[in-house]
């Protein structure tokens, strides 16, 4: 509330409209059926010299407003994905309030997939023209489909090719942004957090691409309205089906089958039509292969949404998602033997039942209140995991994180040069981690707390060439055993350059905080998040960040950007492998980190081929105390090392090419300098201490007729002191759309790692042979997959 109060002092009272000699343009954007179109981009240019004097996005009810406009002749352009661009010329006299009804015509289906997405990325351009600090990268639904993926389009895989983003493994769609950890990314589904949005330990994301409109990654400089994570915000948005006729999409890939249906709701009196959608996906590993041969694993996603227009131009939107991963070996014959080399003599399997999944449900209500636009959100997010042995009761692992949250935002544009956004949120979080077995509790961590936050974000455009965005956020986290209070000021400044303001230089700095940690071991290629909340023994993360960048657009076709950043992280945590089991205070090590780098991007938005190339340079570092050094004078008390995602050079090339209508070729080439790993320097046998004899011994594994090599330990060199070879990979996709009277059929072919580059995932060192050897496991080999999508 302090932030709200401070903001109220900062905001000057708006001048009465009647007293102004400036003009105003307002109105509504609708489609050819009369339904409102949200997020259409409106750009007002001076007719004389084409200089942009204002821009905005239409609201949920299609309404827009451009105020404080000097009298004169203008051209107002309006764009939205899937619709023809429209431009109207207007002349404004002093004090005019021009009301326009702008109806857009749908683009012909024949060019869907190419021309539709060639209309630029409206939001990215709109942010460039109207916002100062945030670094926003958008991947549209069309780009998402064209990007070669593993079996099917995956939004988190698409994020990997954006500047500043590092992915450490083909097997995981978890990602790191500008030196931050994976748990420092806030991933929002329609504005509601989703904690572990991965299937199969990270191999696929939970998002069904058919239902998505776009993904927007805010990789730095995000405003005070975002709290809770320090590294990035990924906003995944589902499509708005308001006013659309009944239809659907069906997709089949080697991974899963999916179906998505949508339609409109009857319109109330004087109201616009609402819409709904429902999508489902299920994998079929377990159905295609018998339980004793294949993997008795399946994933299920179920997602739905509802959009309801409200009186007074408001909109109510419901989002719901539930998804599960299930590995159920309970139906497997415990005595089965394949007779393969890998089986032990009994050919038995340890039958496990393992499930995990996310649930999200949220409701969002956007409502104009006079000059203000209010947004209220209520949501519940949960991630839960459970592991147990079918044959042995009492051995379980359980992990859970729940968040119940409410949030309110108020925004007002006092003039075309001044707007204010205020908001507050309140969340209740609960985390639980429990590991039991053999009558002992190996790990029990349960905490809950309340998170309160308030912010004020001002956008001030003193002249056409400058945007200044001061903001402040106050977060309070009350855990069961302690309380944190963090003030996070943020400031961004942008200066437009050139006669048409198509270039800009921008500077942003701020403090970011978070009260959640994931203890996931980032060296594992596949694993789930293990969430814990800040408390007496766990710090809050605080990150101070600064970034300086330049951006340039060349008309509608090309854009380029370069951005340097510096980040410092405090309050990082990791497991203490040598903790004292008697005290919870040393379960985790508290450390620091820093990163700096440069992100470059060149992007082509229109034409027969579109795409982008990015070059990301990064240096990241982590520093943690060494608990084993305590009491030894000649052992350094801290260990400094590059984290596993410290990829110094990352280059991505993404291209879409449409050689003719209905056909689309996608290409992605990725290059990354080698990631760090800890190299074993030696190996020694594992002498076991036998308490019954008081002597050491070399045990023989039971059940083997031939003695196997004795169990061994590896001795590690400096942490992450070695690096794997450079990573590179070329992926291709080909999509062909066949038009039918009832819809379209699009078969596709995707080939990952076309030239079969052997990118190492792990090395295995074996010093027990002479000479010593190194073998390993690579990431994806060349991997062709096929699938088909049907729309009706």
């Amino acid at each position: 509330m302090l932030a709200l109060f401070l903001a109220s002092l900062l905001v000057p009272s708006p001048a009465p409209a009647q007293g102004s000699r400036k003009a105003e343009v307002r109105g509504r954007v609708t489609d050819d059926a009369g339904a409102p179109l949200a997020e259409a981009r409106l750009v007002l240019r001076r007719a004389a010299d084409d200089v942009v004097v204002g821009s905005t996005l239409s609201a949920a009810d299609g309404a827009f407003r451009l105020s404080d406009v000097a009298p004169g002749r203008y051209r107002l352009g309006v764009q939205r994905i899937g619709y023809e661009t429209r431009s109207v010329e207007i002349e404004l006299a002093p004090g005019d309030v021009r009301v326009l009804d702008l109806q857009l015509v749908s683009a012909p289906i024949a060019v869907e997939g190419f021309v539709v997405d060639a209309r630029n990325t409206p939001r990215e351009r709109a942010r460039f023209e109207s916002e100062a600090g945030v670094t926003a990268r958008v991947v549209t639904a069309g780009e998402l489909k064209a990007l070669p993926g593993l079996a099917e389009a995956d939004v988190l895989r698409a994020v990997e090719v954006l500047p500043g983003v590092v992915s450490t493994s083909d097997f995981s769609s978890a990602f790191n942004v500008r030196g931050g950890s994976t748990d420092q990314n806030l991933i929002l589904l329609d504005g509601f957090p989703i904690f572990n949005p991965f299937h199969l330990g990270g191999l696929f994301s939970v998002f069904n691409s058919d239902a998505l409109a776009r993904a927007e990654l805010l990789s730095g400089g995000f405003g005070a309205e975002y709290g809770g994570r320090v590294s990035s915000v990924l906003q995944v948005e589902t499509r708005d089906y308001g006013g659309e006729e009944f239809g659907g999409e069906v997709g089949m890939s080697l991974l899963a089958s999916r179906v998505s249906l949508h339609g409109s709701l009857p319109a109330g009196a004087g109201m616009l039509r609402g819409g709904w959608f429902l999508s489902a996906r299920r994998s079929y590993f377990d159905k295609l292969l018998p339980p004793d041969v294949g993997l008795p694993y399946h994933l299920v996603d179920l997602q739905g949404g509802l959009t309801l227009p409200m009186p007074g131009g408001g909109q109510l939107r419901l989002t719901a998602y539930t998804g599960d991963d299930v590995l159920d070996m309970s139906k497997r014959d415990p005595e089965r033997s394949d007779g393969g080399e890998g089986d032990n003599d009994e050919g038995e399997v340890l039958r496990v039942k393992w499930g995990w999944g996310n649930d999200v449900v949220g409701i969002r209500w956007d409502q104009p209140l006079g000059e203000w636009l209010s947004t209220v959100r209520l949501g519940y997010s949960r991630y839960a995991e459970h592991f147990g042995l079918v044959d042995f009761a009492g051995q379980t692992y359980e992990s859970r994180l729940e968040q119940l949250s409410g949030r309110g935002d108020l925004g007002r544009e006092f003039s075309s040069g001044l707007s204010l956004q205020l908001g507050a949120e309140l969340s209740r979080l609960r985390s639980l981690n429990l590991a039991e077995g053999g009558g002992s509790t190996f790990w029990e961590q349960e905490d809950r707390g309340t998170l309160g936050g308030a912010y004020a974000q001002l956008r001030w455009r003193p002249t056409e060439a400058w945007i200044v965005e001061p903001g402040v956020r106050l977060d309070a986290w009350a855990a069961s055993d302690t309380t944190f209070l963090r003030l996070a000021p943020r400031l961004a400044v942008k200066r437009f350059l050139g006669a048409k303001h198509e270039a800009a230089i921008k500077l942003a700095a701020g403090r970011y905080t978070q009260f959640l940690h994931s203890l996931r071991d980032e060296t594992l290629p596949l694993s789930n998040e293990v969430w814990v909340v800040a408390g007496r023994h766990l710090p809050a993360v605080t990150s101070d960040q600064a970034q300086l960048g330049v951006e340039r657009f060349w008309g509608e076709s090309w854009s380029a950007s370069a951005e340097a950043y510096l980040r410092r992280f405090r309050g990082l945590v990791t497991y203490n492998d040598a903790d004292d089991l008697n005290t919870p205070s040393d379960d985790y090590l508290q450390g620091e980190g820093r990163s700096y780098g440069l992100d470059l991007q060149v992007r082509k938005h229109t034409g027969r081929w579109t795409g982008w190339t990015t070059i990301s340079l990064l240096k990241a570092e982590r520093r943690f105390p060494d608990p084993l050094a305590v009491g030894w004078e000649d052992v350094p008390p801290e260990i400094t090392y590059p984290p596993g995602f410290d990829r110094r050079v990352d280059i991505d090339l993404v291209l879409r090419y449409a050689p003719r209508p209905h056909t689309e070729i996608g290409l992605r080439w990725a290059f990354g300098s080698g990631l760090p790993y800890t190299r074993p320097v030696a190996q020694h046998v594992n002498w076991e201490y036998d308490p019954s004899t008081g002597r050491h011994r070399l045990p023989i594994p039971t059940g083997s007729e031939e003695p196997e090599a004795p169990p061994m330990f590896v001795v590690l060199g400096p942490r992450n002191g070695a690096r794997y070879p450079a990573y590179h990979r070329l992926d291709l996709s080909l999509r062909r759309t066949f038009q039918r009277r009832w819809g379209t059929v699009t078969p596709y072919l995707q080939v990952l790692n076309v030239y079969n580059r052997k990118n190492p995932l792990f090395y295995f060192y074996d010093y027990s042979e002479s000479p010593a050897t190194r073998s390993g496991i690579s990431m994806f080999p060349v991997l062709p997959t096929i699938g088909v999508e049907v729309t009706f």
């Binding site: 038995e348 053999g438 594992l524 030696a682 070399l698 003695p707 590896v714 010093y767």
Partner: protein
């Protein structure tokens, strides 16, 4: 529809096979690993003779030793014990199976033991410092604080013997033995080690194949205050994949008649616990948390043990628990 199903099954199988087969990296030779000295030493408060085992990191299948080293352990009160070289069997045993075949190992580890004149010099609650200096000047240091003493509660007089002696008792078949004990100050955890003999005969006729002559199971009690364990139900958490499922289920709630069980319950210090539980994941193998510093790695830990031998039969003999 049937054709599509078959096609998808074939394509999925092909993709999975191709993916798995295509992920192996070619093996290549690399320079030998570093030659490091490794220490193995657990001070056992239940014994007079203590030992320090010195060996080297592997050079092929040869486990090198370290002859001529100076090995000393100093107690917190100033008592210093100089260890003496001793025959290998005083420190360790190696199954003969390791002496032949393609996986044989040549063991040349060196054994050092405390002199008999030192008596019972490792006592619960005391601190000890290990200092090793090799003939070529390498030095290793380690420290341990032996956990404090503890007592097993509720045992019959025959079963409850002082530390260093072995209690003996009889347990009815198919029944569990619930043990609890007092807190050992400074213990990081308690280990319960169980050697079961006679299972092959006791379970004959139940159709359980390949029952080993000796079955060894471990149980862990985490933290100083976790002082209960149910035998055998709570043991075997770490051996689920080592023995057959039928065997583990057959002894999950009790031992069969005729089985003989040697139980050791020990309070472990920090270093012993760290060595047993291991460090972070590494694809090349297990990582052990070293508790020595200097020119090598290894373990210098301590244990306070109590031992109990249990005969499983219906009648006769002293029961394990008092009043039963």
């Amino acid at each position: 529809m049937r054709t599509i199903w078959t096609w998808r099954r074939a394509a999925l199988g092909l993709a999975m096979t191709g993916t798995l087969a295509g992920c192996e990296l070619a093996e290549m030779t690399i320079p030998d690993g570093s030659d490091l000295l490794v220490v193995e030493s657990i001070l056992d408060a239940g014994r007079d003779e203590q030992h320090v085992l010195l060996h080297h990191t592997l050079n092929g299948r040869r486990i090198g030793g370290e002859e001529g080293a100076s090995v000393r352990v100093r107690r917190g009160d100033g008592l210093e014990v100089a260890f003496e070289p001793a025959p290998a069997e005083r420190c360790f045993s190696v199954d003969p199976a390791y002496s032949a075949g393609k996986d044989s190992v040549e063991v040349q580890a060196s054994c050092y033991v405390s002199p008999a004149s030192a008596g019972r010099w490792v006592v619960p609650g005391e601190s000890y410092e290990l200092r090793i200096e090799t003939a070529d000047g390498k030095r290793l240091h380690g420290r341990t604080t032996v956990p404090g003493p503890f007592e097993l509660h509720g045992l019959s007089p025959a079963a409850a013997r002082p530390m260093g002696e072995v209690g003996r008792c009889v347990l009815p078949p198919d029944s569990a033995l619930a043990l609890h004990w007092s807190i050992a100050s400074g213990a990081r955890a308690y280990v319960t080690h169980m050697k079961i003999e006679g299972l092959r005969e006791a379970l004959a006729g139940r159709g359980i194949p390949d029952i080993p002559e000796v079955v060894e199971l471990f149980g862990a009690s985490i933290s100083e205050r976790d002082t209960t364990i149910v035998v055998p139900t709570d043991l075997g958490v770490f051996e689920r994949t080592k023995y057959s499922r039928e065997l583990m289920l057959a002894i999950q709630d009790g031992f069969p008649e005729g089985a003989r069980v040697r139980l050791t319950i020990g309070a472990m210090d920090r270093n012993f616990v760290n060595a047993v539980r291991g460090g972070s994941f590494h694809p090349s193998g297990l990582v052990r948390i070293s508790s020595v510093v200097g020119d090598g790695v290894g373990v210098f830990g301590s244990l306070v043990p109590y031992a109990l031998e249990v005969d499983v039969r219906r009648d006769g003999g002293e029961p394990c628990l008092a009043g039963t």
